[in-house]
Subunit: 459 residues, 2 copies
């Protein structure tokens, strides 16, 4: 036999049970998206290269999968690579000539492109959700794939903080619907981070500063201070922010302390007020099963988030990175020339949520819809007799099937067993004569003889 | 403003209403797939090039989208293009070096690859369905796209003709569920076509012969005869098959005539018997809304189909090509080294089915799940008051939303109107004091004041 075929590294085949579980997660989230008034859009898997390139930084550009132009792409013609450029034998130079399309790297940039392209048909504020695969030429590793789904919900065209409140409620509703109780929705605000940097006179070192602060959990207070020093943040500045390290208590305590710390920064105080608004609202609109945590060390997406920052952590009982994240970006569509449209959105990490549900045993038993009943095939006459019942059952929504071949009884029963089909119907000559069906409960091993009507009523 | 962004030719953005309609079609078909005992699998969007190349003929190879290798793909290293080959400046030569992955061209070859790769985990007969996009670098035209979905169901590992019977029932069930009545399921058998070619001594001209026969509808009997002559089929041979042109009557009449015509061809008679088995079974298991038609001119997929051939035509009231097709291929997995595994399957043409439903006005009115009720935003206090009701409604499954900004009343009402939201709730200071909500029926223009409990009961 030829060599066993394989799939590209970093990609996956999904077996029936895996598809069923993934669909369960996606459908549950989708239902909440809908309930919260979000509408679905879909964009093409590949975009023009110029739509994607330069939007994710240099590293991102490298990780975008490029599609080779069709046809004779080296043939000298208008726009083809010149002899001079070809001779350079430089991938970067050549790529521009031989590839003009690229696979979607995330859902946010295509969404921004969509909004600008369709702005005349869209009713703003526009609330959309999008659940589609994205592709990244990352080095594959445990839990990181080259093809994976993103589940995003965003609103564009509204500055209102009620959106942030809504997204927190939406996270809570979705995780509650997934029966995943006790997730922590962490919230921060870019303006608070900017405010802190401003207050300590390190505005030019915002990224270094937040990257260090973000490690508090892992390397502790001393570690963070050491790293800040090494990045050129002065001991006086570090002294000033020491209260951050012990920001304890409930949300109002934290707000009070932040207000003191940031008193001299207009931007910082704006951030505190925004956070306070959201926290107060959630106090009045309590979450069902999730916890809300003001976490000033949270610093994701600083290249684009301008207001709220969200991140969702799985319950403490499982070790897992964040299972969701999002934030507000004041100028989402500016990259495509439409200025002043604020956006805010969240994302669900499908693969990680899947792993968490698996680890905690939270997938419903009914998720894999195997057949409910298998009819044994004793030959063509019997098969036809059975198929009439199968047809009636399917019409009622029951998953029913006839074993396709008149194979040995043992083989057919093994098939039912391996596929965990709970009922088997046996109808041979005797049953056909008496117009009945023998039905066997595979778990209990019991058997009954029933009529056609009883059979269709049974399920 | 910058130039308006665009998407690659042959691709599409789907707006919320379009996504909703597509999902409706897909979900309806998916439900029938499940009911008939098919299980879902998913395969990666891209495969190793060697998995796809050479499987679809020369034209197919050309239409496969190739993905450029990541990183510095021209850099001299193991496996990189040699100086000699590079200097040839030949796309065909270069492609092998700079691209090792390609986008899926259909779902059948990846399915065959899947079956071979996972053969030890699979319980045969394996009934799988798969609904995923495929990509083809075809010249885009009306109704033909470079990215489109395929919806396939196949069984592998069973020779039983009951599979064919099941697929006809499945087609009927799916189109009935879509409320698309009166489709014609055409059926033929490759063995009959081979048999005819054999009987007239033109076995070496099977393709020419069937291509001509297939045009009977378009160019008439004389046209077909002329084309056959021009392809070197003798006048005597053509004389012999003249009965085919007037193959009228019900299925049993056709079977009787075919049996006469093909009496001397063992393969032909085998084909007639297979068809007869299927037609007899369907007589006993009548279709709900579809018609079954034995059509000996049906000749699709002759490169791979070895038995039954299916094609579904939309009702006569719409002009549309086939909206589904399929057949049996005796050696599906042979291309990957696993011999002797017979497969049979069908496919639904999502895009065309969509167009037919649109033209006939068959999409349910409820398909676009816009919000059921919009709460007007009169300011933060009122918003909070409203959000408590919104939360309660969402918990009950109602699609409810608060207008995000305290915008002018007119703007908020326009938003509700344009999005066709049927109910608007107005709750200002007065309502807050009396703990009520004013609810407005947007279609009738009527207004009521109701309590919180009445509101949540209302929907």
């Amino acid at each position: 036999m030829a060599q066993k075929p394989t799939i590209p590294k970093g990609t996956r085949d999904f077996t029936p049970i895996e598809v069923a579980k993934r669909e369960y997660v996606i459908e549950t989230i989708r239902q909440q998206f809908k309930r919260y008034g979000f509408n679905p859009i879909q964009t093409p898997s590949f975009e023009n290269s110029e739509t994607l390139m330069g939007k994710y930084g240099e590293e991102g550009d490298r990780l975008i999968f490029k599609i080779l132009n069709s046809g004779d792409y080296l043939n000298p013609k208008k726009g083809a690579v010149s002899e001079e450029d070809y001779t350079k034998r430089d991938s970067t130079v050549l790529t521009k000539y031989i590839s003009e399309k690229a696979l979607r790297y995330d859902l946010t940039v295509p969404f921004a492109r969509y909004v600008v392209q369709h702005r005349n048909e869209i009713e703003f504020p526009f609330k959309r959700y999008q659940i589609q695969p994205v592709w990244r030429a990352d080095r594959p590793q445990k839990g990181r794939f080259r093809e994976f789904y993103q589940c995003d919900a965003d609103v564009v065209g509204s500055d209102s903080l009620w959106q942030e409140v809504n997204f927190i409620k939406l996270y809570d509703a979705a995780f509650t619907a997934l029966n995943l109780q006790g997730v922590t929705i962490k919230i921060n605000n870019r303006k608070i981070l900017s405010g802190i940097a401003e207050v300590i006179g390190a505005s030019d070192k915002l990224i270094d500063f937040t990257v260090a602060l973000d490690k508090l959990d892992k390397i502790g207070e001393d570690g963070v201070k050491e790293e800040m020093l090494s990045k050129g943040i002065t001991p006086e500045a570090i002294e000033k922010i020491t209260p951050l390290f012990s920001l304890q208590g409930d949300a109002s305590d934290k707000i009070t302390k932040l207000r003191e710390l940031l008193a001299t920064s207009e931007e910082g105080i704006k951030g505190v007020e925004e956070l306070e608004f959201i926290l107060e609202a959630i106090k009045e609109l309590p979450l069902e099963t999730s916890l809300l945590d003001l976490d000033v060390t949270l610093a994701r997406g600083l290249n684009y988030y301008t207001g709220a920052i969200f991140e969702v952590a799985a319950p403490d009982t499982v070790k897992m990175g964040s299972i969701g994240g999002g934030g507000r970006y004041d100028d989402l569509t500016g990259i495509f020339g439409l200025k002043g449209v604020s956006g805010v959105g969240i994302s669900f990490g499908l693969d990680r949520i899947y792993l968490v549900l698996e680890e905690l045993g939270l997938f419903p038993d009914t998720v894999a819809s195997t057949s409910t009943v298998l009819f044994i095939n004793f030959g063509d006459k019997e098969a036809l007799y059975c198929l009439k019942a199968v047809t009636a059952l399917r019409k009622k929504g029951v998953i029913a099937e006839l074993y396709p071949d008149n194979a040995k009884m043992k083989k057919q029963m093994t098939y039912a067993n391996r596929r965990e089909i709970p009922y088997v119907v046996l109808a041979g000559t005797a049953e056909m004569e008496s117009n009945t069906f023998k039905i066997k409960n595979m778990e209990e091993g019991t058997q009954n003889e029933i009529s056609f009507d009883e059979l269709t009523e049974f399920f």
